[in-house]
């Protein structure tokens, strides 16, 4: 059956067929994200040879690496954005994309996330937030909702989740949007924008992990989780008029930020030009 799907699925041209089928669990939101990313690349007519995809460790790091057929750098836990920074400086004309999870990019890698946003380096980050460490067996994450059960918060989670998009927006990113896997068309549009804007862009995707999260929180079926996303999503325009208490446990969806700020690699190259000019080092 898998073979049939791959022969009729139009986006399969962007995938490494020898690496398929994916290792993602049935019902995982990762497939939706991969599909949305492939569609965004397709609609923008980006040549995959102009793409470098970087990922870290965890289920969501697997979404595009190794499956997406481009130069792919599968790195150490939490450090994908730092690796991508070196790639982008070396290849400023290529699109450098990081696809990884909340544990990877916002917990162990949180420092790199905020500093890349501060630098406003032209990297697109698709952060898949499933509230849990899936690959290691469903442990509590810095994104786990208050009160939720996980294997390491078996009674209830007493910590408050990090607001990733808001944090990255505050840190200085050019573009920040949040959607869920139940908002596929909006998600594709946001990924397209993120790939197009100059500067650091983040698309946070609230995604379902029925196996590790849903199962322990009365949402065994993927569809139940998607219904939860739809029910508790609040468009940002509406959220602006709501109190923090009203927003507790809600998913604020939409574009948080879309602005122009000087971009890092451009500034870096401008600086080199200025220095070489100043010291009279331009080609004679």
């Amino acid at each position: 059956m898998a073979k049939e799907i791959y022969s009729t699925y139009p986006m399969v041209k962007y995938l490494r067929k020898e690496a398929l089928p994916t290792a993602l669990c049935p019902g995982c939101g990762g497939g939706t994200v991969l599909n949305a990313f492939a569609n965004a690349v397709d609609q923008l007519k980006i040549d995959p040879r102009d793409l470098v995809v970087v990922s870290g460790i965890g289920c969501s790091a697997w979404i595009a690496s190794p499956y997406f057929l481009a130069d792919t750098l599968h790195t150490t836990h939490g450090r994908a954005i730092a690796f991508a920074t070196g790639v982008k400086v070396g290849l400023p004309d290529k699109k450098v994309v990081v696809i990884s999870g909340d544990g990877d990019l916002a917990s162990i890698g949180g420092n790199h996330l905020i500093h890349a946003a501060r630098r406003n380096i032209d990297i697109t980050v698709i952060l898949v937030n499933n509230f849990i460490y899936g690959m290691t067996g469903g442990q509590v994450a810095p994104t786990t909702p208050f009160g939720a059960r996980t294997t390491t918060s078996p009674y209830r989670n007493i910590e408050h989740p990090l607001q990733i998009s808001e944090t990255v927006a505050a840190a200085g990113a050019s573009y920040v949007a949040r959607w869920t896997t139940a908002h596929v068309y909006q998600l594709i549009e946001s990924i397209k924008k993120a790939l197009t804007v100059k500067g650091f862009s983040l698309v946070e995707v609230i995604s379902q992990c029925p196996v590790q999260f849903g199962r322990r929180n009365r949402m065994k079926e993927p569809a139940e989780m998607l219904r939860w996303f739809l029910k508790d999503s609040v468009p940002i325009s509406k959220a602006r008029n709501m109190s923090p208490e009203e927003l507790e446990g809600k998913f604020v969806i939409g574009e948080l930020v879309n602005r122009e700020r000087p971009e890092f690699t451009e500034e870096l190259n401008k600086l080199i030009d200025e220095v070489q000019e100043h010291f009279g080092l331009r080609e004679e």
Binding site: T85, G86, V89, N111, L268, L281
Partner: protein
């Protein structure tokens, strides 16, 4: 991209900026200039004493040469950015000291596993932990060797003077490029901050090598293969349409992950070891003084090699038949040569600024009937000629 074909332009710039001749400079500056002459055009780092002047020199000089200086948010990000930039074709370097070196260890292992050329300068300072942060030491000998986890080979070079640190840095780059591997420069806070005369050469005097690139599409499809039998796969750089997949997980020759087949892991890790073992001629380097007729041998490295030579010269004046062996590449340790030399001597002294690290490597190659003695000093003050001479006299 500064990997190939830019030589005439780079030589013109180097000549214009750094006139050949004698200068008075710090070891840290010499390392930076060595890197610039070797073709390093990407530096990512995080400030730490006593290495900071390397970053400062690179930040000042790299833009003049069209190169990139990045100050990252921490040491982990620094080495990560280097690996990323290396896969786009840059020769890359960072410099740090003990605590930062500890933070870099995980990604150093990543660089070994993904066969990414890079140069990591560890300006050793007195530890453990924050220790004497401003003082030099030689306590990271085994952190360089075994700091990252798992079976892995590593190459580390160790300069003995300011002038030497220029050339050893160049050599570190050439080894990294030739063998597609990270190379550690085990430097120390004493030479790093010492000012000495150094001769800056003409760029044409500096041998500069570049990594092997795929000769054709077939070679590009096997970024971790061994098409030439030397253990060194050509490196298909990012951005060339090869669709290269790079992962720190166990991978097949084509780069794709396979962590379930024992043979795949065995083949990959043994080939990475063999690559180092069978290319000894690329990196092995040591110096010998008066070893022909020596009855006592001093084995010393890095900053301590200098007072060791002073002590050997004085002891010779006193008629003591003592020789000196200085490994310049300390990992892999040139143990076979030490074994040969040990057969002719009755005592071996190993002076170093730690409580006994290099001596453990020496011990592996020396029979029990040879007296083996460490000359150890900690506290941030270098060993002196007199202190080592006293020990030589003691076994004479």
């Amino acid at each position: 991209m500064i990997i190939r074909g830019d030589e005439p332009e780079q030589i013109r710039l180097l000549r214009k900026l750094y006139k050949k001749g004698n200068y008075f400079m710090q070891g840290n500056e010499a390392v930076a200039y060595g890197a610039l002459f070797a073709g390093c055009r990407f530096y990512a780092g995080y400030p730490i004493t006593p290495s900071s002047e390397i970053a400062e020199t690179m930040a000042k000089e790299l833009p003049k040469l069209g190169g990139y200086y990045l100050q990252m948010e921490d040491e982990i990000a620094s080495i990560a950015a280097m690996v990323g930039a290396s896969w786009t074709g840059f020769k890359v370097m960072t410099a740090t000291a003990g605590p930062g070196f500890s933070l870099m260890q995980e990604n150093l292992g990543y660089a070994v596993m993904t066969e990414t050329p890079l140069v990591l300068v560890d300006v050793q300072r007195s530890g453990p932990s924050t220790g004497q942060a401003t003082k030099g030491a030689q306590g990271d000998f085994f952190q360089a060797r075994w700091g990252t986890h798992g079976d892995h080979p590593i190459i580390a070079v160790s300069p003995t003077s300011v002038e030497d640190s220029f050339w050893e840095t160049v050599r570190a780059f050439n080894i990294a490029e030739k063998l597609r591997t990270p190379v550690v420069v085990l430097f120390d806070g004493i030479i790093a901050h010492a000012r000495e005369r150094i001769r800056i050469p003409d760029p044409e005097e500096v041998e500069v090598t570049y990594r092997k690139l795929p000769a054709n599409e077939e070679e590009a499809k096997l970024p971790f293969g061994d098409p030439h039998g030397d253990g060194v796969p050509p490196m298909p750089l990012f951005g060339h349409g090869y669709f290269t997949h790079v992962t720190g997980s166990t991978h097949k020759e084509n780069g794709l992950r396979d962590v379930y087949t024992p043979e795949v892991h065995d083949r990959l890790v043994r080939r990475i070891h063999r690559k180092i073992e069978q290319n000894k001629h690329v990196y092995e380097k040591y110096e010998e003084y008066f070893t022909d007729d020596a009855e006592i041998l001093v084995v010393s490295w890095g900053v301590t090699a200098r007072p060791s030579l002073g002590a050997v010269l004085k002891a010779r004046e006193e008629g003591i038949k003592v020789g000196l062996f200085v490994p310049k590449t300390v990992h892999p340790f040139p143990g076979e040569r030490v074994r040969e030399l040990s057969k002719k001597v009755r005592a071996i002294l190993v002076p170093e600024m730690n409580l006994g690290q290099l001596i453990l490597e020496v011990q592996r190659f020396v029979n029990d009937d040879v007296l083996l003695k460490g000359v150890n000093k900690i506290g941030g003050v270098p060993l002196t000629v007199e202190e080592i001479l006293r020990e030589i006299r003691g076994v004479a």
